[in-house]
Amino acid sequence: MTNQLLAVKNLRISFHTYAGEVQAVRGVSFKVNEGECMAIVGESGSGKTVTSKAVLGLIEPPSGEVKADSSINFAGQEVLKFTDRQWRNYRGKDAAMIFQDPMTSLNPTMKIGRQIMENILLHNKLSRQEARERTLELLRMVNIPNPEERINQYPYEFSGGMRQRVVIAIALACKPRLMIADEPTTALDVTIQAQILQLLRNIQKQEHTAVIMITHDLGVVAGMADYISVMYAGRIVEQGTVAEIFSHPQHPYTSALLKAVPSLNQENKARLQIIPGTPPDMIAPPQGCGFASRCQYCMKVCQHRDPAYTSFSDTHQAACWLHDDLAKAAFDYQDVSEVLNHA
């Protein structure tokens, strides 16, 4: 039996800009259990990064605002009510973040050994020697060759992939219970991406760390995630286990996303199934379903009423009007997969 580590409930986040209020996240709820990997998939502007930043309290007022009725519960504590001091303890120690760009997430003027040690010493009462030992251990853990030598080098002496390993080592420094990886491989090459994914997978198993993995590419999380939440226009449109999402997608967006990537055994130059149009501007979020304007199955109702979640199993839910009995009656089908696979 696994224990629940993180529960996000009705998270709503807005940014106040010169142009008006941008509703980046509009009521997101999900859970992450200890030692499990949850992937949040969505395109840029869908609110996935903002959601993960909120979990670490990185939404800065005055422009960013987490709405009052939102709740983020980490191991029984309500993090949104944390004091500054509690936040500092929590960040880095309980929850850590791996950013997308390893170029900018390391301090270029500090030796990488010191950057890792700093984090260890901040949260643990260790001597410098012990901290150094732990740093070496971490560097070994992320497969950096000659850690004794590397510890005294500066970030510019590392390649992109090696830098991302260092970033992971920093995140792991205090054995966090939750690790948030925001597009950790987007800036890397395919071969390096494969190495980093492998590394994250191993660490997650070894250290029993819960991981929230944020990506726009479903392929990246196929090998790693236990659960997947698909986000679109500031909402989760579908969530379920990896198998459920990949083999029985119940939302048109998820299914289109899966088909948008050409598989290697597909015929060349065949038209890829595309999702037409552009994601909505969250300054004026659409009424009704956020995906309606790009959905080929869009019905009248989708344009002005928000669909509720339909459950397919304990873990699998999707928010789409196609699951409504009236829609089934109107178009005569039993299961939505009949419709989705009939492009």
Partner: protein, 316 residues
């Protein structure tokens, strides 16, 4: 299983069956832009207008400039009119800011001095803008050897203290506004030249400049269409910041007696005179000093506002 069906009935409810008609995708609609069209400059102005401090500074500057232009025309006392009987008199209704040690009206002199100070600030900034942008732009755009030589020249110029230049120029041209401007302009454009060069070097490698080259756009068009408009915001910000620098340099030189010569005056020259009487007649120092500080502060605050509004690096 029962749980599932319970969930399903939740969704329908009060919606009639005719709502379930397929509409499909409207490509035109899904490509529509929600926000009203707004150019870079309009957006910057909007940000600037929301910045109260910057707008207040702008208002203050406009007020000072208007006063400099019109106050001497309306005010009953001329700036060089002497009233020996009441020298060093404090502020009265007759003479709003009082009189100096030669019996001249300080209020009248403030605005005449302001004309000189502001003129030197604005003209100096514009001249150094012209030279700096051209020099930096050429150096950055052509790069290589040209750039190397031009930048070494700049470094040499930077190495010469401007006091020395001022003294040399005033030896040849005599003291006064022209030689002061000339000396200040000769040394002050280097900072902007470096800034523009750096910016151009960076923009030259940008993909839109490459695209323009691939499209066969001639050099002069690349410079006027792509490079200059994209450095413009930085140039304007920098110029706003350099105006108070010129005003202060003029004040400083006039204070030392190397700038504006009597009977003409400037805020620096007035402060220099006032300073001699400071212990007994502080108003002779306070008013020119206030005028100088308020103007410089306003220019700096406005510059800050412009930077917040227009600097691409600060606009998220």
């Amino acid at each position: 299983m029962t749980e599932q069906s319970a969930f399903k009935t939740l969704t329908s409810g009060d919606i009639s069956a005719d709502q379930f008609v397929r509409v499909g995708v409207n490509e035109q609609l899904s490509e529509q832009l929600q926000r009203p069209s707004i150019s870079y400059w309009q957006d910057g102005l909007r940000r600037l207008k929301k910045n109260r401090v910057a707008m207040l500074s702008l208002g203050l500057l406009v007020f000072i400039i208007l006063m400099c232009i019109f106050a001497p025309l309306i005010y009953p006392h001329s700036f060089d009119e002497q009233n020996i009987a009441i020298t060093n008199q404090g502020p009265t209704w007759q003479h709003i800011f009082g009189l100096d040690d030669l019996g001249r009206d300080i209020f009248a002199r403030i605005w005449i001095g302001g004309r000189v100070s502001l003129a030197i600030g604005v003209v100096g900034a514009l001249v150094s803008l012209l030279i700096g942008v051209l020099y930096g732009g050429i150096s950055g755009y052509f790069g290589g050897l040209v750039d190397d030589i031009m930048m070494r020249i700049v470094e040499i110029l930077v190495g010469i203290p401007y006091m020395v230049v001022v003294i040399i120029v005033s030896v040849f041209l005599g003291k006064g506004m022209t030689s002061l401007l000339l000396a200040l302009c000769m040394t002050s454009w280097t900072g902007l030249a470096r800034l523009v060069r750096g910016q151009v070097l960076q923009l030259k490698e940008s993909e839109y400049v490459m695209a323009a080259k691939v499209l066969g756009t001639p050099s002069y068009k690349i410079i006027t269409r792509h490079l200059i408009p994209n450095t413009m915001s930085l140039i304007i910000i920098n110029t706003t910041f350099s105006i108070p620098g010129f005003i202060f340099s003029e004040a400083f030189l006039s204070f030392l007696g190397m700038g504006i010569q009597p009977p003409l005056t400037s805020w620096g020259a007035m402060a220099s005179l006032g300073q001699q009487q400071m212990a007994y007649y502080p108003h002779e120092l306070i008013f020119p000093a206030l005028a100088l500080s308020i103007t410089m502060l306003a220019f700096n605050l406005l510059g800050d506002g412009l930077r917040d509004a227009f600097d691409p690096k600060l606009r998220q």
